[in-house]
């Protein structure tokens, strides 16, 4: 006989409890009776747990531990008489009820008692009442009354007949003739909310109700907020945890929501885009098999293109603009979105219609807004000229003038490419996890990030046959390499976090210096070294002769890889909420430009190139005025860049290198290219 609670006993209890739970609730009693006949203690335990199970709301959604209200027909709350349960939402049960004073039927949303005992949840519930009450709009569910009785909080709302958009979508895409008017109504409801500074934050097909008369009603402003602190949510189907806190529903969240950043109306615009996309194509663009994959898709993947044979381009463009990863590239509010929908040609708003002119009009609108928001995102990236397969996960790229060298991080190799025609001349074995590459005028240097070894290595290669001429050991794990014309500089991470100076002729270690934080990327302005530091949100300036720290500039957010000097400015990339490119005037150490562009950098001719690993493209920025000239579609997860007249891009996830030829780069900005060429003439 084992004591109750002992592991063996629990296995028995668990097995029977699982069996019981797999039965219909009304059959469980009989099942427990069966157990009781042979083992009364066991039966008692199973029955007890079954009882608690009914009160359990411990979903992945969060603790929410406690019973539901469970009102029966005929019970009264205030002057409402419950008739029947018609469903349950995030925070409680919804009933059809009779308003005995006004003699009309209402929907009565009752907050679960344990939730009502939670001041946060109660506050949220009441706030939803207030929020929605302030939004009298035909496309928003009206709340008549909010009250409490015997500790039970409730809200009376208009009673709707019809179905929600989810049920509608289960039958497939919404016909275009209906989709646009529906989208318009959704946008109209959102616009009313946005106009009052209220963001819905949990728009999804379940929260869009289609009444039988064809009117859209937006439901569940439970997560809505005005500008102000976030509330702790408790929304089971939204994967919300009161401990772990995810606001919004996976698959419909905006990227900034996924990242836990502040959200504004543009998050609703993104979510609207997801819903519109799903209505038009029948496919939820970021739905994946698991929540984690959905989150990743929101952050990284573009929505699949909408079938242009079925959906006119102007509408698809509206959806695409809503779905921009960068909030600044979306419509700023639902009112702008509504404006775009209303500016669709009349026939398009009501029936299937295709017109090039209409497409052009909306494209113009979209592009203008993009320019206005300084997002620099153009509608269509141009294709690269050449794609060259290399080893796995290229993490380093350097040009020796006639060749481009690629460090293949996961193949432990280096690939040599002939610049003139992109021919692969060889792949050479190096150390483990090559990262950084440098060219000192005579040799190629490779920094190998040997993860589990005591020491990482730095190798000098013969540029003709890739032969390893020398191997040096480095105490810290190398990140980036730079040749300043005299010495090699290496940034090291764990465990040293130093900047190391190396003499190329014999590989002598000339000392390691603190760069003031965790050094990542290095630039050289002809006189001083510039180092980006990830931890201290700074860019530091060092004297190369003795590694002395001259100045530190706080750039306000973690400075990431990507620091270059273009002759007048130091350009960097910082891991701010908008992932910004910044430009520093080295003389007075002032940031004089911020641009929401992520990624690694390289200077090339009159331009600066920025790789965008999220959108899988490279942006060409004119250095003179920081205007975005073009975007270039490359492989997946583009990172390191090199420029030798042509632009070379290492695509880490596609295991390729893309080449964009000099003439292609010049063609998108011919005047600048010519002027630059002229200036360079002696």
């Amino acid at each position: 006989m084992t004591a109750p609670g002992a592991p063996e006993r629990w296995q028995d209890v668990k097995r029977l409890l699982a069996d019981a739970l797999e039965r219909a609730p009304e059959q469980r009693g009989a099942f427990v009776d069966e157990i009781r006949s042979s083992d009364p203690d066991l039966a008692r335990e199973v029955a007890s747990l079954l009882g608690w199970n009914e009160r359990s709301e411990l979903a992945t959604a969060g603790p929410g531990l406690g019973p539901l209200a469970g009102l029966k027909a005929g019970e009264r709350l205030g002057h409402y008489e419950v008739q029947e349960s018609i469903g349950h939402g995030g925070m409680g049960e919804v009933y059809r009820a009779r308003d005995t004073r006004l003699g009309r039927d209402v929907a009565l949303k009752v907050l679960a008692p344990d939730v009502a005992g939670d001041p946060h949840a109660l506050h949220r519930f009441e706030r939803e009442g207030r929020t929605v009450a302030s939004l009298s709009h035909p496309n928003i569910l009206a709340i008549f009354d909010v009250g409490q009785q015997d500790g039970v909080a409730y809200a009376a709302t208009e009673l709707l007949h019809g179905e929600n958009l989810r049920q509608c979508l289960e039958r497939g895409p919404v016909p275009l003739a209906q989709a646009v008017p529906l989208a318009r109504q959704i946008a109209s409801g959102l616009a009313a909310a946005h106009a009052r500074g209220i963001v819905h934050r949990d728009l999804k097909p379940e929260n869009v109700f289609l009444t039988s008369s064809g009117t859209v009603k937006l439901l569940d402003f439970g997560l809505a907020k005005r500008a102000g602190p976030l509330e702790a949510p408790g929304q089971p189907e939204s994967l919300a945890t009161r401990a772990g806190l995810v606001l919004g529903t996976i698959g419909y969240m905006a990227p900034e929501q996924v990242r836990g950043e502040d959200v504004d109306a543009r998050a609703d615009v993104f979510t609207f885009g997801v819903v519109l996309h799903e209505m038009l194509s029948g496919v939820a663009p970021f739905a994946r098999t698991t929540p984690a994959e959905s989150l990743a898709a929101i952050l990284r993947d573009e929505a699949p293109p909408i079938d242009e044979a079925r959906v006119p381009t102007p509408i698809a463009l509206v959806a695409r603009k809503c779905l921009a990863k960068d909030p600044a590239a979306r419509f700023a509010t639902a009112a702008d979105l509504l404006g775009a929908l209303d500016s669709l040609p009349r026939r398009l708003r009501t029936s299937v219609y295709r017109s090039r002119r209409a497409a052009a009009a909306v494209l113009a609108l979209v592009t203008l807004a993009a320019i206005a928001s300084q997002s620099g995102v153009r509608a269509r990236p141009r294709p690269a000229d050449t794609t060259i397969p290399v080893g796995r996960q290229p993490e380093g790229l350097v040009s020796d003038g006639r060749h481009v060298w690629v460090a293949n991080n996961r193949s432990n190799s280096v690939t040599k490419i002939r610049s003139a025609d992109g021919a692969v001349l060889g792949e050479f074995r190096v150390g483990g996890g090559p990262m950084g590459l440098a060219w000192d005028g005579a040799h190629v240097w490779v920094a190998n990030h040997e993860w589990l070894q005591d020491h990482s290595t730095l190798m000098r290669l013969d540029p003709t046959d890739g032969h390893v001429l020398a191997t040096l050991s480095t105490p810290g794990q190398p990140m980036n390499l730079l040749f300043d014309g005299a010495h090699l500089w290496l940034t090291e991470t764990w465990p040293t976090y130093l900047l190391r100076k190396i003499r190329p002729s014999d590989g002598a270690d000339l000392g390691a210096f603190t760069a003031g934080g965790t050094p990542r990327s290095i630039a050289f302005d002809g006189e001083s070294l510039w180092v980006s530091n990830r931890a201290l949100a700074s860019v530091t300036k060092l004297r190369p002769s003795d590694g002395r720290l001259l100045r530190a500039v706080d750039v306000g957010a973690s400075a990431e890889a990507g620091l270059v000097f273009d002759g007048t400015h130091v350009w960097g990339f910082r891991h701010a909420p908008g992932r910004e490119l910044f430009r520093l005037r080295p003389q007075d150490l002032v940031i004089d430009l911020e641009l929401p562009l992520p990624g690694r950098l390289v200077v090339g001719g009159p331009w600066l190139f920025v790789s965008d690993s999220t959108r899988h493209w490279v942006t060409q920025v004119r250095r003179r005025d920081a205007a975005v000239v073009a975007t270039w579609a490359v492989g997946r997860d583009p990172g390191p860049l090199a420029y030798d007249g042509d632009l070379w891009v290492a695509n880490r996830e596609s295991h390729t290198v893309s080449r964009i030829a000099a003439r292609s780069l010049a063609a998108v900005d011919p005047e600048e290219a010519v002027a630059f060429g002229r200036d360079r003439q002696p």
């Binding site: 609670g5 002992a6 592991p7 629990w10 668990k14 409890l17 739970l21 747990l49 608690w52 199970n53 359990s56 411990l58 992945t60 969060g62 603790p63 531990l65 946060h120 602190p229 976030l230 509330e231 702790a232 994967l239 945890t241 009161r242 401990a243 772990g244 806190l245 995810v246 996924v258 990242r259 836990g260 950043e261 502040d262 698991t290 929540p291 984690a292 990743a296 952050l299 996960q393 996961r410 990030h449 993860w451 589990l452 990140m479 991470t493 764990w494 465990p495 976090y497 990542r520 990830r534 990431e560 890889a561 990507g562 891991h575 701010a576 909420p577 990624g599 690694r600 690993s613 996830e653």
Partner: protein, 204 residues
């Protein structure tokens, strides 16, 4: 210093996958040390991520999203190229790290101390992770520890699903169980934990 500090790797800059995937592999090979290192690296990354989310611009308007954090840590440390088996194991470690972060935080709050300022994790700055949630986390943590004594595997299921935000399928992957088993473990654990917490615990 542990390799955790190499959690300064980022998507944009650094040596990502080989590192953690090698640790994962070493752990598969039976190295407990590799598992420890992996935990430390993940814990550091999660804390750093949480802190950086919360610290930005000093505005007290952010909440901590465990699932999102765990996932972003995954993207940073492992990358999307990892085979599923690595993915599952990583999430297992990450869920544990997330649990520790949340519990530590709740304890600090209960002790009435201000959490250390950035760059250490200071969830206070999230504004709204109130005492209520903190206590819920502590109670759950305690119940989960009790369950672990009774049934370690089942406690892992809860940890993964609750603190790691994993779906049934992902949990199954992570623990090398069938999804059906995970469902049963989850359902029965829910009842047990609800009772354990509901009967009152010293934390309350």
């Amino acid at each position: 210093m542990s390799p955790a500090s190499a959690g300064t790797r980022s998507r944009t800059g650094g040596p990502r996958p080989p590192a953690v995937t090698d640790l994962l592999r070493a752990w598969h090979g039976g190295s407990e040390e590799a598992r420890e290192q992996l935990f430390e690296a993940t814990y550091a990354e999660l804390r750093a991520l949480a802190a950086s989310y919360l610290r930005r611009e000093g505005r007290a308007q952010r909440s901590l999203q465990a699932t999102a954090l765990v996932h972003e840590a995954f993207l940073r440390l492992v990358g999307t190229r990892a085979p599923w088996v690595d993915r599952g194991h990583f999430y297992g470690v990450a869920a544990q790290a997330m649990r520790r972060i949340l519990v530590d935080h709740a304890r600090r709050r209960r002790a009435g101390k201000r959490a250390p300022a950035a760059p250490l994790l200071s969830l206070e700055e999230a504004g709204e992770l109130g005492d209520h949630e903190g206590i819920a986390v502590l109670r759950l943590d305690e119940a989960l520890s009790d369950l672990a004594r009774l049934d370690p595997r089942q406690a892992r299921v809860v940890e993964l699903r609750y603190f790691g935000g994993l779906s049934v399928e992902e949990t199954a992957q992570s623990l090398e169980l069938s999804p059906a088993t995970v469902k049963r473990e989850w359902a029965t654990a829910r009842a047990w934990i609800t009772r354990q917490v509901g009967r009152g615990s010293p934390v309350a």
